[in-house]
């Protein structure tokens, strides 16, 4: 459970060694006509004020048109993916791509079983696996900015973030008390569901979310990790829902899996 220095070195070396195969595997996996594919909805994009201040940029950033899955990837969809690409099964995957928790709650290596609802979002999946899944669909993980753009909407407004009461309720994101955790939670104004659910979601560029570019190991430190300096890179320091989400994602390595972390895919317009 604890990584000491030596195994950690080995892990890193193993990962570096695995880099080229991972990339070629990604290429080989591109297969746009996945039968169990989720439904994608179009978002027009536009100028958008991110809650994160990236690269010292001030003012709105441009979001290009994109498509996003209506729901997070489900257990059923993920079973179909594993049937097609069995090398990602928990009993065949290399540990550098997913930790020991990867799908460990499933009844078997290829099926979620009866304890886990087939339509429920898949969880205990690593970034590498989520990335591979989306590639297999001819898609990709959404960028943070795309995810944030879609998640700014409530049921009636494309950008509901000025509604403080609504935003405060997002503080429960990632927990059973999240607003979209309710069975009857409506889709948002784009028709997208469950962005503020009991599970967090991977984004493609999660590893760059730390206060601008990846500051790990540099002299100005991980601003997010220290008491008293946490709000520096946030345009709104009261946006605790975003703060919590970024804190969670930035705690993770790309092979990490969590019981309340899933994903959905995005793609460019045709």
């Amino acid at each position: 459970m604890i990584r000491t220095a030596a195994p950690r070195t080995l892990l890193c070396l193993a990962l570096l060694a695995a880099l080229p195969p991972a990339l070629s595997a990604g290429q080989a996996a591109a297969a746009p006509d996945q039968p169990a594919a989720g439904e994608y909805l179009p978002l027009a994009g536009g100028d958008f004020r991110s809650s994160l201040r990236l690269d010292d940029a001030i003012g709105p950033r441009h979001v290009a048109p994109f498509q996003l899955m209506r729901e997070p990837v489900s257990n059923r969809q993920f079973e179909a993916f594993l049937a097609k690409e069995p090398r990602w099964r928990r009993d065949r995957i290399a540990r550098v791509f997913a930790d020991n928790g990867y799908l460990a709650h499933w009844a078997s290596a290829d099926a979620a079983g009866t304890d886990e609802a087939a339509d429920a979002p898949v969880r205990h999946v690593s970034w590498f696996v989520a990335d591979a899944y989306c590639r297999s669909q001819g898609a990709r993980l959404p960028d943070w900015l795309e995810w944030e753009f879609a998640a700014a909407a409530d049921a009636t407004r494309h950008d509901a973030r000025e509604d403080r009461a609504w935003r405060m309720r997002l503080v429960a994101d990632g927990s059973p008390r999240a607003i979209d955790a309710a069975a009857d939670a409506p889709a948002n104004a784009y028709g997208i569901r469950n962005l503020h659910g009991r599970q967090w979601e991977w984004v493609g560029d999660y590893s760059t979310l730390m206060a601008g570019s990846d500051k790990r190991g540099q002299d100005d430190g991980d601003r997010l990790r220290f008491c008293g300096a946490t709000a520096l890179s946030f345009t709104d320091r009261e946006d605790y829902a975003v703060l919590k989400r970024v804190a969670l994602l930035s705690a993770l390595q790309s092979n990490a899996t969590l019981g309340n972390l899933g994903f959905r895919c995005a793609k460019d317009p045709p």
Partner: protein, 350 residues
């Protein structure tokens, strides 16, 4: 393609960066597993005269608990209690700290121990995702009573949800023996519902930012130190209380009604003040108070910012039993009317 490469590289760099900070502590020290206690209990006094390597294993747990009768709150805890487990080490010890974050936590946690000399007080080294564990070591350089707390963003919310506790570093020469030791820590809580509103109450960020707590309590809940939970002692016993304040916002004017502190180790440090009525415990700070329970009775622990006591919950009881000592305190000796003002002539006149 490009996305994958970027992330893999970032991962590799992060791995490499993680190698730099591995400690190189001497291995000859005897290894001791720390005794951790839930409030109001305190681990037994340290008898050792030499340093040791003390292994501390603490788990962060998010759980619903009662904050007041009929009112529950989703607390985030160190060790399943608010305040978290009490940690006791000796000056000069090397502490090997293991932090686990429960599998069903919904956010990462870490720990900043004010007893640590080093970056973030350990926060950087213990950035722990749910279902994961981290480890770091530090040397307890300076004696004192220190607060520890979670420093994960949003820091205020983690502390407001109960993520704090105390770590005592005993001085090399040890501490005077006392008959009873207790662990009491104040905290302020912010719920959407009003004081006493039943059911599971969500955290109110607005009230927290405005510093308008719904509850101000000792040991995580109204009633945690009253009734069957009251602290108990015998008349004539010497008592030491380790009193912390997790905040996140308020400072505490700690007072025990009917007692005078013989000694107050101000701000948990090495110097003491004598004969103190009320002592200030800062948010993120602590103090040690010592006194002898001379006579029996119910002695009331309060934050003497007194509306908090009667309207927000900061009330505890120390129940002292034993022989009365009328030389010190008689109890009521007489009651009755006293003579009215002379003649009723003064009505309406000055």
């Amino acid at each position: 393609m490009k996305r994958t490469r970027l992330s893999l590289l970032a991962y590799a760099i992060a791995c490499a960066a993680g190698l730099a900070g591995m400690p190189a502590f001497a291995a000859e020290l005897p290894v001791i597993k720390a005794e951790l206690t839930a409030p109001p209990h305190v681990p037994k006094q340290i008898e050792r005269k030499t340093p040791a390597k003390v292994v501390v294993e603490l788990e962060t747990i998010e759980k619903d608990m009662e904050i007041s009768e009929g009112v529950t709150y989703n607390f985030w805890t160190f060790g399943g209690t608010v305040p978290g487990s009490f940690i006791r080490v000796r000056e000069g010890d090397t502490v090997e700290f293991h932090l686990k974050n429960a599998h069903d936590s919904h956010v990462p946690h870490n720990i900043d121990l004010h007893a640590v000399t080093g970056t973030g007080g350990g926060a950087e080294a213990t950035f722990t995702a749910p279902g994961h564990a981290t480890q770091f070591s530090f040397k307890a350089l300076q004696p004192g009573l220190y607060v520890y707390h979670c420093a994960m963003p949003p820091v205020g919310m983690h502390i407001a949800n109960g993520m704090y506790g105390l770590i005592l570093v005993e001085p090399e020469e040890g501490m005077a023996k006392v008959d009873k030791e207790f662990y009491v820590m104040q905290g302020d809580f912010y719920t959407e519902g009003k004081y006493g509103e039943a059911g599971l109450q969500p955290f109110s960020l607005d009230k927290a930012i405005d510093e308008h707590p719904t509850y101000v309590v000792f040991n995580g809940a109204e009633g945690s130190l009253t009734g069957d939970n009251a602290l108990k002692a015998e008349a004539g016993e010497t008592i030491r209380m380790f009193v912390g304040n997790g905040g996140p916002n308020l400072v505490s004017s700690f007072h025990i009604i009917g007692e005078i502190f013989d000694k107050v180790y101000v701000e948990g440090g090495s110097k003491y003040q004598e004969n103190v009525q009320t002592t200030l415990v800062p948010a993120g700070g602590a103090t040690m108070v010592e006194f002898k329970a001379d006579v029996p009775g119910n002695f009331v622990l309060v934050d003497h910012s007194i509306f908090r006591t009667f309207h927000k919950g900061s009330l505890g009881i120390l129940k002292v039993e034993g022989e009365e000592n009328h030389e010190i305190y008689t109890g009521q000796q007489a009651t009755g009317e006293f003579a009215p003002p002379a003649a009723a002539a003064g009505h309406g006149k000055h």
